[in-house]
């Protein structure tokens, strides 16, 4: 999945609530969407302002066949992947 598709899908997920937070036994405090420091609307706004150069991808640690999308904009660092129709957030922080 490329930049435009990922951007569209993650904004949709944030709008309709079809997302979850990926964890490993603890609540990651660097996921400020999970801890309620930022709202889905605020995250959607940041991603909406992203262009292709704000986006990169990497294989998921622990399951390298899954592609992780990283959006960096105005010091924000937003990291997620997709499983079927669900967006799984790993990090959302400054």
């Amino acid at each position: 999945m490329g930049f435009s598709e990922a951007k569209k899908a993650v904004i949709n997920a944030l709008r309709n609530g079809n997302f979850m937070h990926a964890t490993r036994e603890s609540i990651e405090i660097k996921n400020e969407l999970a801890t309620g420091v930022v709202t889905p609307d605020e995250v959607a706004k940041i991603i909406k302002g992203c262009r292709g150069f704000n986006h990169s991808t990497s294989p998921l640690h622990g399951a390298p066949h899954i592609l992780v999308h990283i959006f960096k904009k105005n010091e924000w660092y937003i990291k997620f992947y997709f499983i079927d129709e669900t967006t799984m957030f790993i990090s959302v922080h400054k």
């Binding site: 997302f19 937070h21 490993r24 036994e25 609540i27 405090i29 079927d84 669900t86």
Partner: protein, 206 residues
């Protein structure tokens, strides 16, 4: 938007199993990654193969936000900047690669000793009167800096107990602990507690 109930199933990546796995939603107590306490009884996705907590649905966020507020208590004091520099130097001596936040853990390590060891509490309670002169009179004027740390409720209770045991107020306890750290870690050529502290630093970094 979807509201999940306990017993519902879904799919997520389990890093321990190294793949996409099926999961079942359950209520669990889940700790915060910075060790500052727990969110009690939140709905989470649990890996069907290894029982790890692998996903959190958005409906658990309000409970997490509330727990985070309770979990992270703040201890703050204004101290002459030399105290902060002493803590940075002590951390650096334990290991040059430690993050600056380690100094808070170092302070709590000594605070815990004051709360649990009467000898230590007594030694620390006498530090300020004896050593304040050299620490606070040597350079004038003093630049005051804010010392601030987020602690778990357990650590906050430790801090209260240490204030009790040493009969010091918050700012004096922090200062006295720094003076103890100065005597134990900074001044000796071969600090006695070094092995123990290197261990503690390695354990708290993970």
């Amino acid at each position: 938007m979807k509201l999940y109930s306990p017993g519902d199933t879904g799919k997520a990546v389990c890093e321990d199993c190294g793949d996409i796995v099926s999961m079942t939603f359950q209520y669990r107590d889940v700790p915060f990654s910075d060790g500052s306490g727990l969110a009690h009884n939140i709905l989470v996705g649990v890996c069907d193969s290894c029982d790890s907590v692998i996903a959190i649905p958005p409906q658990s966020t309000p409970a997490i936000k509330a727990a985070r507020k309770v979990a992270a208590k703040s201890i703050e004091a204004k101290v002459p900047s030399l105290y902060i520099e002493a803590l940075d130097l002590a951390s650096y001596r334990i290991s040059p690669s430690l993050p600056r936040e380690f100094k808070n853990k170092l302070v709590m390590y000594f605070v815990h000793q004051c709360a649990t060891d009467e000898k230590m509490a007594k030694a620390v309670s006498r530090k300020l009167e004896a050593k304040k002169q050299t620490f606070e009179k040597s350079i004038a004027p003093h630049v005051l800096k804010r010392f601030s740390m987020k602690v778990s409720p357990d650590m906050a209770a430790d801090f209260d107990k240490a204030m009790d045991m040493t009969n010091l107020n918050k700012t004096s306890l922090i200062k006295s602990v720094v003076l103890q750290i100065n005597d134990d870690i900074i001044r000796p050529n071969r600090p006695k507690k070094m092995e123990e502290l290197k261990h503690f630093a390695a354990a708290s970094a993970g």
